[in-house]
């Protein structure tokens, strides 16, 4: 399973929507339910899934799936 597919599973769990389709462009501005509280759960789940740790600045700058993938890809390369 690639990173995007794993993130899609995380997002489906976070928003309790088993049909949610996540692309790189999926973002806080395109999906109103994604707020700062949801970001906390998404980042924690991403850390656990990929065995990585986000910095405080990275948490603050996470606004889209592309942001998450950038961090994941950099840490798991």
């Amino acid at each position: 399973m690639d990173a995007l597919a794993k993130l899609q599973r995380i997002f489906r769990d976070a928003f309790d929507d088993p049909t949610l389709v996540v692309t790189r462009e999926f973002s806080m501005s395109s999906y109103p339910d994604w707020d700062s509280v949801a970001t906390v759960g998404i980042v924690l789940a991403t850390e656990e899934e990929f065995g990585i740790r986000f910095t405080t600045d990275e948490v603050a700058s996470t606004h889209s799936v592309a942001d998450l993938l950038k961090i994941v890809e950099a840490r798991t390369r």
């Binding site: 707020d35 700062s36 509280v37 906390v40 924690l44 986000f54 405080t56 948490v59 603050a60």
Partner: protein
């Protein structure tokens, strides 16, 4: 060691919330209303005579405040704040226990420049840490017999 410093409640209007807490439960204003531009908030600390911590009323400082969304969603119990001697050590410890640091250490107006930091996990409410030290709103003020348990400071 974590010592409960205050409970932060999110309110739409500090004056009316303060009035309710004073009239209903006997809280006394401990500070004036303080504007914190970093937190984009206005806050006021109240004290219930005999209590070992404060109650903080928090409201967004304008429509662009990062608190506005939480207020719209009906959040009321906003955060628990703990006073710690070693802020960085406490952050590292809680980070290692599955919490995210969502607000890096920064000086806070309400505490005379003592730094605060914010953490969160999947469960609400947020956690605020304030470092111990000299300045206003020190827990030690409430711990000294006859020095703080039964007084308010602001009107």
């Amino acid at each position: 060691m974590f010592r409960l410093h205050h409970v932060g409640t999110l309110v739409a209007d500090i004056a009316s919330a303060r009035r309710a807490m004073v009239e209903r439960f006997g809280y006394r204003p401990w500070t004036d209303v303080i504007t914190d531009p970093v937190q984009t908030a206005e806050v006021q600390f109240l004290h219930l005579p005999g209590a070992a911590q404060w109650l903080e009323l928090v409201t967004p400082a304008g429509p662009e405040s990062k608190l506005s969304n939480a207020l719209r969603k009906g959040v009321t119990l906003h955060h628990l704040c703990y006073e710690v001697e070693d802020l960085e050590g406490a952050l590292e410890r809680l980070r290692g226990q599955g919490m995210l640091i969502v607000g890096a250490p920064a000086p806070a107006v309400a505490f005379g420049g003592r730094r605060i930091a914010w953490l969160a996990d999947k469960a609400a409410p947020l956690v605020e840490l304030v470092e111990a030290g000299p300045g206003p709103l020190r827990l030690a003020e409430l711990a000294v017999p006859g020095e703080g348990g039964d007084r308010g400071r602001a009107g």
